[in-house]
């Protein structure tokens, strides 16, 4: 089931998009994050649950001594839940914060594909869709290897301050 993405957010953004991306899959859909925002990729591990957070925040893990939050992208995009397999991975991403110090967050994805070099000619605007939008944060579509990859703005997907999401979702 293809989740309808948000409407395009201004043509100007497409120009900023070309570069290297890490592509990963959720079911049959492929998404990508800029490699500059990817700290590392780790295998799926046991996650400690934290109360009073939205469903898509699975909890926290120990990343070499640092405790970081882990979110499930399937849940964030309201996709059906699926059992974790040995291909399930956690992408440790950097979210931008107001004070300039990036917030590390793990993002659970079905599988990690490859690093893509996306050029200007491969990019297209995200088409305008109707209301009832759930997935913020898709800022462009890339055509490569015969398929469409949706480019994510990780800050928009999880909000600049994840705490805000947490509060409003729980209230």
């Amino acid at each position: 089931m293809m989740q309808q993405p948000d409407g395009a957010r201004g043509g100007g953004r497409l120009e900023a998009l070309p570069g290297k991306y890490l592509a990963f899959t959720l079911g049959n859909e492929e998404y990508a994050l800029p490699v500059l925002r990817v700290r590392e990729i780790i295998r799926m591990m046991e996650i400690t649950a934290v109360p009073q957070v939205p469903r898509y925040i699975r909890g926290v893990i120990n990343l070499r001594g640092k405790v970081i939050p882990v979110a499930d992208l399937r849940a964030r995009f309201d996709l059906d839940e699926q059992a974790y397999t040995e291909r399930t991975a956690i992408i440790v991403a950097e979210l931008a914060q107001a004070d300039g110090v990036p917030l590390l967050m793990g993002v659970v994805v079905d599988a990690v594909s490859e690093v893509l070099n996306i050029g200007g000619k491969d990019l297209e605007e995200t088409p305008q869709f109707g209301a009832g939008v759930k997935t913020d944060g898709i800022v462009g579509m890339a055509k490569s290897r015969g398929r469409v990859t949706m480019i994510l703005d990780i800050d928009r997907v999880f909000g600049g301050d994840v705490a805000e999401n947490g509060r409003s979702a729980v209230a």
Binding site: E46, T48, A49, V50, P51, Q52, V53, I57, G59, V60, I61, N62, R64, G65, K66, V67, I68, P69, Q97, L103, M105, D161, V162, A163, G166, R167, V170
Partner: protein
């Protein structure tokens, strides 16, 4: 020269600021003993050092100002001049200007702007030179403004301060270390402990070890434990320097307001985590501003009330069962209940005509919106509301409370954890999760006897523990995780206490006591209640650390049918 060497620059800045801090503390003591030769030397020497270093590094303005003061101080320590109020004020002003100049060195080197204090410095240097000139003129008697006249505020006597600082003792040396290196070291030691405990617990090892190897491993464990304790202790610093900063504040505020105030402190040697010490400075300052602004009365008013004209502010620090307790107390007019209530009604915090107990009125000053710009006086100036103070302290996992007697005074009581870094906890299992309950919050644990458990609407909600009836809460319930399906009699109840409140927490079983390294969960979870942080457990997984107060707040919110208490009893003032 500093431009070429940023490391040299930052060393100079750090050391100079350190010296200025020492100088300030010594000057305040000098006010009450102006002829103390040791103090005069304690002030002269660092000025001399700053002047010398600044000269060598080409920081001309700092050198000039420091030199001017050094000359004045030289007159003082050779007996030609007795430092009176004018001299003391001048030197303090010089400390302020030098601090500004030196703090700006970093930003200026980075291409930024600094604050222009040179005109003010020129004026000050003229004044100081005039004071020095008066001393240099020949004549028998030492000159200087009479220290016994006009002494509106007194600097504190510091009874518990040893005459020679620890750093002066033979064999005691200190080094400067970049705090980032220290933090990295501590993090790595933490990881070492975890890695080692995973290894130690691995069944393959246990099987393969012969007696000698087992002893070696035990030895390794001991060494690692010592290493961790030592690393942790490096984070601890005495609170004394924070208290000393308050002395200057009290002196300046008192002068400004025409009040006579004496600051007394004790327990300066009490050690806290370095971070906590940094963060507690602002809240303490606000509380002291409060005391001076609203608490301590002018001398005439005090005398009319039969009090000595000099008001007293007392700062104390002490260890208390895994916490540090800090109090800020004054002997002023106390909280004005009628005025506070009036203001709260005005601000819409309390309905008109509500009747509140004195404790409830005290709590009103902590409510957001209580103090607004209108009520900020010249002294409170940049003051912020007590709600911000409380929030700051709570973000350090601390608590602050207030008690007051009209006409006699007000007391703020702060409780803070000794270190944010480590906590001893009881590891418990609830559902498929594990949690750490800090032992300082645990009163006892017991297996509930079926007859002691009271049900409300079919669910177990209260438990009798000796003579008390306590709320009973399943941890799995509270945190919304899958329950294990055990009945209370098959589980363990852990009685936790916080701020006079108690609650019995039902968990599946106890897993043992452990010292764990506390990790902040980060900004993403700031709003989560009942959780104080995360702990890296022996197997490398994270276990949430419970916050007893938060657990009780959460329970209360769910209402009495869940074992919670009706609201007025929540957070009653001490």
């Amino acid at each position: 020269m500093l431009r070429a060497d940023p490391e040299l620059a930052s060393m100079f800045v750090a050391e100079a600021l350190d010296h200025l801090g020492t100088i300030e503390a010594s000057i305040l003591k000098l006010e009450s003993s102006p002829r103390d030769a040791q103090l005069l030397n304690d002030i002269f020497r660092p000025f001399h050092t700053i002047k010398g270093n600044a000269g060598a590094l080409g920081v001309g303005r700092v050198q000039q100002l420091a030199h001017t003061v050094e000359t004045l101080l030289d007159h003082c320590r050779s007996g030609r001049l007795t430092p009176g109020p004018h001299e003391i004020d001048a030197v303090l002003k010089a400390v302020d200007l030098l601090t500004t100049m030196i703090q700006d060195i970093g930003p200026r080197l980075g291409g930024g702007e600094g604050r222009d204090v040179w005109p003010a410095s020129l004026v000050l240097m003229d004044a100081i030179q005039a004071l020095s000139a008066a001393a240099a003129s020949p004549g028998g008697e030492p000159r200087g403004t009479d220290p016994h006249q006009e002494r509106p505020t007194q600097a504190p006597a510091l009874p518990e301060e040893p005459r020679r600082r620890a750093e002066d003792q033979p064999g005691h040396h200190a080094v400067r270390v970049d705090t980032r290196k220290l933090d990295t070291l501590i993090d790595m030691v933490g990881e070492l402990v975890v890695a080692q405990s995973i290894l130690y617990g691995h069944p393959a090892w246990q099987a393969a070890l012969d007696e000698r190897a087992a002893r070696q491993l035990a030895q390794l464990r001991r060494i690692t434990g010592d290493l961790q304790r030592t690393a942790m202790s490096m984070r601890m610093v005495p609170i004394r320097s924070t208290f000393q900063k308050m002395a200057r504040l009290v002196r300046d505020l008192g002068k400004q307001a025409g009040k006579q105030v004496e600051l007394v402190f004790s327990g300066g040697e009490t050690e806290l985590d370095r971070k906590v010490v940094e963060e507690i400075t602002d809240p303490l300052m606000h509380m002291i501003r409060n005391s001076l602004d609203h608490g301590i009365e002018r001398p005439e008013e005090r005398m009319r009330a039969g009090k000595p004209p000099t008001g007293r502010v007392e700062l104390t620090a002490s260890h208390e069962a895994g916490n540090i307790a800090i109090t800020v107390a004054d002997d002023g007019r106390g909280l004005q209940l009628a005025r506070i209530l009036e203001k709260a009604v005005e601000r819409g915090l309390v309905p008109e005509g509500a009747s509140l107990t004195p404790q409830e009125i005290h709590q009103l000053i902590f409510k957001p919106g209580f103090s607004t710009a209108v009520e900020v006086t010249a002294i409170s100036g940049r003051g912020v509301g007590m709600d911000v103070v409380r929030r700051n302290i709570e973000s350090l996992r601390g608590r602050v409370d207030i008690s007051s007697t009209p006409g006699e005074g007000t007391r703020f009581q702060i409780k803070l954890p000794l270190t944010l870094a480590i906590v001893e906890g009881l590891l418990v299992a609830a559902g498929d999760q594990r949690y750490v309950v800090p032992t300082f919050a645990v009163r006892e644990s017991l297996r509930p006897a079926p007859g002691d458990v009271h049900h409300v609407q079919g669910a177990p909600r209260m438990i009798r523990v000796r003579d008390s009836l306590l709320p009973l809460v399943r941890l799995s319930d509270l945190f919304g995780i899958g329950a294990s399906g055990l009945s209370p009699a098959e589980m363990t109840a852990v009685v936790i206490e916080d701020d006079g409140r108690r609650l019995a927490l039902l968990v599946d079983r106890l897993l043992g006591k452990q010292e764990v390294v506390v990790k902040s969960l980060g900004s993403a979870f700031r709003h989560v209640r009942g959780v104080a942080g995360g702990a890296i457990l022996g197997d490398g997984l994270v276990g949430l650390i419970l916050d007893a107060g938060g657990v009780m707040d959460l329970t209360d919110e769910r209402g009495p049918e869940y074992g919670g208490r009706p609201s007025p009893q929540r957070r009653a003032a001490a």
